[in-house]
Amino acid sequence: MSVKLNTRQVGDVSVVDVAGRITLGEGSSALRDALRDLINKNQKKILLNLGEVNYIDSSGIGELVSGFTTVTNSGGSLKLLNLNKRVKDLLQITKLYTVFDVHEDEAGAIRSF
């Protein structure tokens, strides 16, 4: 399985539920397309729910960074939700964990926007 994405609205926050593998190829490009779609629709508050992501490589991390930069530069905010140990460890060793606003519960993440 590559990646499955589901986008839903909770008030004015776009929540993107991501499941599977965010790796070079289908996985990373699907995430890129989903974020681009939200940005094109002028969505300013985006929450990536990574709770079901079981694998991410450096390309996937690159897409998270790219999405963060693009959303931020357009005046919006992109946050992360439900990182498992693997994703958290990767973001920590690449010194990106403190760049993102990371949350462990959705309600709190929504309120933080």
Binding site: T23, D57, S58, V99
Partner: protein
């Protein structure tokens, strides 16, 4: 899957196409041997990631998806270690020229973290220009390391 209970040294070699499917194949081969060698889940994760990142470098940056270029892949283990070698047929590059992905000015780059992650996950990492052309990386994971 047969367990290598007697730790008989084992080597698998493949000549792979320059495709993303080859990245999956190499990861599968490496993890299969690592599992038979008795590596735990945490080490399997690290080995898998390091092999994937190395293969992506060979396929994408080395061979540039060129159908006429191959990636030489081998994985072997002894009771002491698992060794993976990956060689591409690209133009090669100077590893010293790679920017540090942890430097503040590079932190928000969208690429350039592959080799750093490989070094983080493996016990030994070597990269060199191969005498036959291209780059060769050697990844080593010690048995029982954390």
């Amino acid at each position: 899957m047969r367990e290598n209970k007697h730790h008989v040294p084992e080597t698998v070699e493949r000549s792979l196409e320059s495709t993303l499917e080859s990245v999956d194949s190499a990861e599968e081969l490496a993890l299969g041997m690592a599992e038979r060698a008795g590596f735990d889940d945490e080490d399997l994760m690290k080995i898998g990631m390091a092999v994937r990142e190395s293969m992506v470098n060979a396929v994408v940056h080395g061979n540039k998806y060129n159908a006429h270029k191959k990636v030489r892949f081998s994985v072997s283990h002894t009771p002491q270690r698992l060794t993976v070698r990956i060689q591409d047929q690209g133009e090669g590059f100077e590893p010293e020229s790679l920017p540090d992905p942890l430097a503040p000015e590079n932190l928000m780059r969208t690429s350039g973290r592959g080799i750093f992650l490989i070094r983080s996950f493996m016990d030994e990492f070597a990269i060199r220009r191969h005498e036959q052309g291209g780059m060769e990386v050697t990844l080593v994971k010690y048995s029982g390391s954390k």
